[in-house]
């Protein structure tokens, strides 16, 4: 897999092809000195909480109140004009910031990619980046719908995949896997309280 | 639009070309298969109805664990049997149910089965298992899995009851795929 740096197989006496070898998983490496991270440090020295390189991909942790500023700098000065993906991860057990909002940027000039990570607690607002990239609109709406992370001054922060009456955020770790009782919430007159279609298996 | 292109647009050559294509297709061989009379031949590796062989099954629950949507339910118990003097505990299969109505025919159970040839397989070249009632008829227990009542095997396919082998569903007389039409 020729990523930025092709993984050079170890050259034992008899060069066994890499697929015969036991796979060697990549290890996270401190990446403060990496070129992409240094670029950001030169412009915003105090905006980088930490930088890790894992499997050839740089992840930069950013304080959640500075994310809009960092994104503007990334898009403007550093040329990350393409927001590939925006999603979130729910680390329920983690004490302080429960959600990780993850931005995955791409730069066309030298085809480099960068991951910004923001740690935010439940109910705390993150600045919306729709002003920086228009494509963030639906992605942020989906993160709100699935995780309940609020995005400050987002054009129309509503649910995008589940329906308006849905109570709860499905991708949270404390959301039951077999789904919740949704019938009574939407059609109270039709379904008795507690009744109605339960998402997930029926009976057995 | 310029006069030249206006006049050129009066000559419908492009439309005529299109008509030519559909005209030619008018005389070509038709692709329709009259299904009930002519049944298409599935390929040997086609993942269709389950085949199950109780003797080969060593009740290791691998298939139940490997199934992404957990529709294989197995009940077993231990039995003491005398094998040449030593008392050995042997697992006996009580129930082996597959909820075929929720199955997505991904074949992961067949891959997980450690026996050789496998005790549960999908390459049975039979795809006609429609039923009028889904909860009983499509909930196959051990007996019905082995002698399909309700499944029309493709003509020429040997059913598991008659000793079908997973990699040889038609018992040697493999219908050639060319007979598809």
């Amino acid at each position: 897999m020729a990523e930025q740096e092709p993984v050079t197989p170890p050259a034992p006496a008899v060069p066994k092809p890499p697929w015969e070898e036991k796979p060697v998983p990549p290890a996270p490496v401190e990446a403060r000195t990496h070129a992409q991270v240094v670029e950001i440090l030169n412009l915003l020295p105090d905006a980088v909480l930490g930088a890790v390189e894992f499997a050839g991909q740089i992840t930069v942790a950013v304080p959640h109140e500075r994310i809009l500023e960092v994104c503007r700098v990334c898009k403007g000065a550093l040329g990350y004009t393409f927001l590939v993906d925006l999603t979130a991860v729910d680390w329920k057990e983690r004490p302080e910031g429960r959600f990780d909002v993850v931005y995955w940027l791409h730069r066309f000039t030298d085809s480099r990619r960068l991951r910004l990570k923001v740690r935010v607690a439940d109910g705390v607002e993150v600045a919306s980046v729709t002003t920086v990239w228009k494509t963030a609109n639906w992605m942020e709406r989906e993160v709100f719908d699935m995780f309940g992370v609020y995005f400050a001054d987002h054009p129309n922060l509503e649910r995008i995949l589940t329906w308006e009456g849905f109570n709860g955020h499905p991708l949270r770790k404390d959301f039951p896997l077999e789904g919740i009782d949704t019938g009574a919430a939407i059609y109270p007159d039709v379904f008795p309280s507690g009744g109605g279609p339960v998402a997930g298996g029926e009976g057995e | 639009m310029s006069l030249g292109s206006y006049l050129a647009s009066l000559l419908p050559i492009d439309l005529a070309q299109g008509l030519g294509v559909t005209g030619r297709f008018f005389f070509m061989r038709k692709a329709t298969i009259q299904y009930p009379d002519v049944k298409p031949v599935p390929k040997p590796r086609f993942r269709g109805m389950f085949g199950f062989n109780e003797e080969r099954c060593i009740v290791c629950h691998n298939c139940a664990k490997a199934c992404p949507i957990a529709i294989i339910h197995i009940r077993d118990h231990f039995e003491e049997i005398e094998v040449d003097g030593k008392k050995k505990k042997k697992k006996v299969l009580d129930r082996f149910d597959i909820d075929v109505k929720r199955c997505m025919f991904c074949g992961l159970c067949e891959e997980a089965c450690p026996t050789e040839p496998v005790a549960i397989w999908l390459t049975t070249m039979s795809y006609e298992m429609a039923a009028y009632e889904r909860n009983e008829r499509l909930y196959y227990d051990k007996e019905r899995l082995q002698n399909w009542d309700g499944v029309q095997p493709y003509p020429g396919v040997v059913s598991p009851e008659a000793g079908q082998l997973p990699n040889d569903p038609t018992g040697g007389k493999a219908a050639k795929p060319e007979e598809r039409r």
Partner: protein, 374 residues
């Protein structure tokens, strides 16, 4: 916008609100578009989605890594091979596995066959929406041949589940390569036939040239990838920028358009089908023999960490963001849905056009609701 004279609002316009779909023949699945019309002209078009939301990403968290693969088939149900390739590639990147060359070549062939099949569905339904009925049947007849090849290899026609972490579950049946070669040898002639029906047809050009125009800057701003981005002129394809499997050993071109309208995207996809034929032919010629599975433990346990891996799906960049916690189940598995992001640009593409153009633009974005709603 390409229709300036259509844009000035009529003085006494009372707009009509129409809900277009979700049960509408032209919305390629359960998509609803909330249309505000002024006569026939579209003032605003807001897509409403979520009708096919099955919570796939939640299900991923309960599955083992190999157990998640059948679910990826059902994301973009018209392109299962590329969806499998994405997930499998992501997990292999997490575990540092290198896939044996034979498996890589077979994966490329399956992916390119799937790209042709997906473009075929796009062409058939896109032409049908704009009125030309016959291409639908000619194209699907060719797709039948591809599905036969898939059925012969992995046993399923649509939901393939054809790849595993570390390589492929089984090798090609004998005679498959000959049948595949006979298929791709006769395909260019069929594509030329479809083009004779459409490319120079004046009605087709009238319905597609200048419709749904988007510039490169806007396309990048809206995050478009795949044919919608290349139609505007940006030569950008994951297979060339971040080559995976063995794409760097294959020589093929990336077609691009100039004006970014529906007609250019049509030309780009038709050319992509020909390029796929070229790729498959090279793969068939250079198919190495050897194992199809790397030395991978029976139970897949990637180390603690996260990685993003994307493939060039027929609809655009299909990415998988895997967060692993060392157990056998992914802690979080996010799919970067190319159709979901491409659909986001619909209001901008369609504003000022007529209702009939909305159908053409939905067709040219080539959206599949399975991948949008997940």
């Amino acid at each position: 916008m390409s229709h300036p004279e259509l844009l000035e609002p009529f003085p006494d316009s009372e707009e009509m609100e129409i809900s277009f779909g979700p049960q509408h023949p032209a919305t390629h699945g359960v998509l609803r578009v909330q249309l505000r019309l002024d006569g026939e002209r579209i003032v605003d078009a807001q897509p409403v989605i979520g009708y096919l939301h099955r919570g796939t990403e939640k299900i991923f968290e309960r599955e083992t890594y190999n157990g998640a693969i059948p679910h990826t088939d059902r994301l973009d149900y018209t392109a299962a091979a590329t969806a499998n390739q994405g997930l499998v590639g992501a997990v292999e990147k997490m575990m540092g596995v290198t896939v044996p060359p034979r498996a890589a070549y077979i994966r490329m062939m399956l992916a390119e066959l799937q790209r042709i099949a997906s473009h075929i569905i796009w062409l058939g339904t896109h032409a049908l929406d704009i009125g030309a009925q016959s291409p639908f049947f000619y194209t699907f007849e060719e797709r039948e041949k591809i599905l036969d090849l898939f059925e012969e290899y992995c046993g399923a026609r649509l939901t393939l589940n054809s790849m595993r972490v570390g390589g492929l579950p089984f090798d090609l049946p004998e005679g498959w390569t000959e049948r595949c070669r006979t298929f791709i040898d006769q395909l260019p002639a069929r594509i030329a036939e479809w083009e004779r029906l459409l490319t120079k047809n004046r009605i087709w050009r009238l319905r597609t040239v200048g419709i749904g125009v988007i510039s490169i800057a806007d396309a990048v701003e809206w995050g478009l990838t795949g044919p919608p981005l290349r139609g505007s002129g940006l030569r950008w394809d994951i297979r060339k920028v971040f080559p995976y499997d063995r794409y760097d050993e294959i020589d093929f071109e990336i077609p691009t358009g100039e004006h970014g309208d529906t007609y250019d995207r049509y030309l780009v996809r038709m050319e992509e089908m020909r390029q796929s034929v070229r790729i498959i032919r090279q793969c068939l010629d250079a198919l190495p023999d050897g194992p199809v599975m790397a030395k991978v433990p029976k139970v897949i346990r990637p180390p603690l960490g996260e990685a993003y891996f994307s493939v060039e799906g027929p609809k655009g960049e299909l990415g998988y963001y895997v967060v692993a916690d060392g157990s056998t189940n992914p802690y979080r598995l996010h799919v970067r849905p190319s159709c979901f992001i491409n659909l986001q640009a619909l209001p901008e593409l369609v504003r000022g056009h007529l209702v009939a153009d909305l159908i053409a633009v939905i067709g040219t974005l080539d959206i599949v609701l399975g991948e949008i709603d997940r």
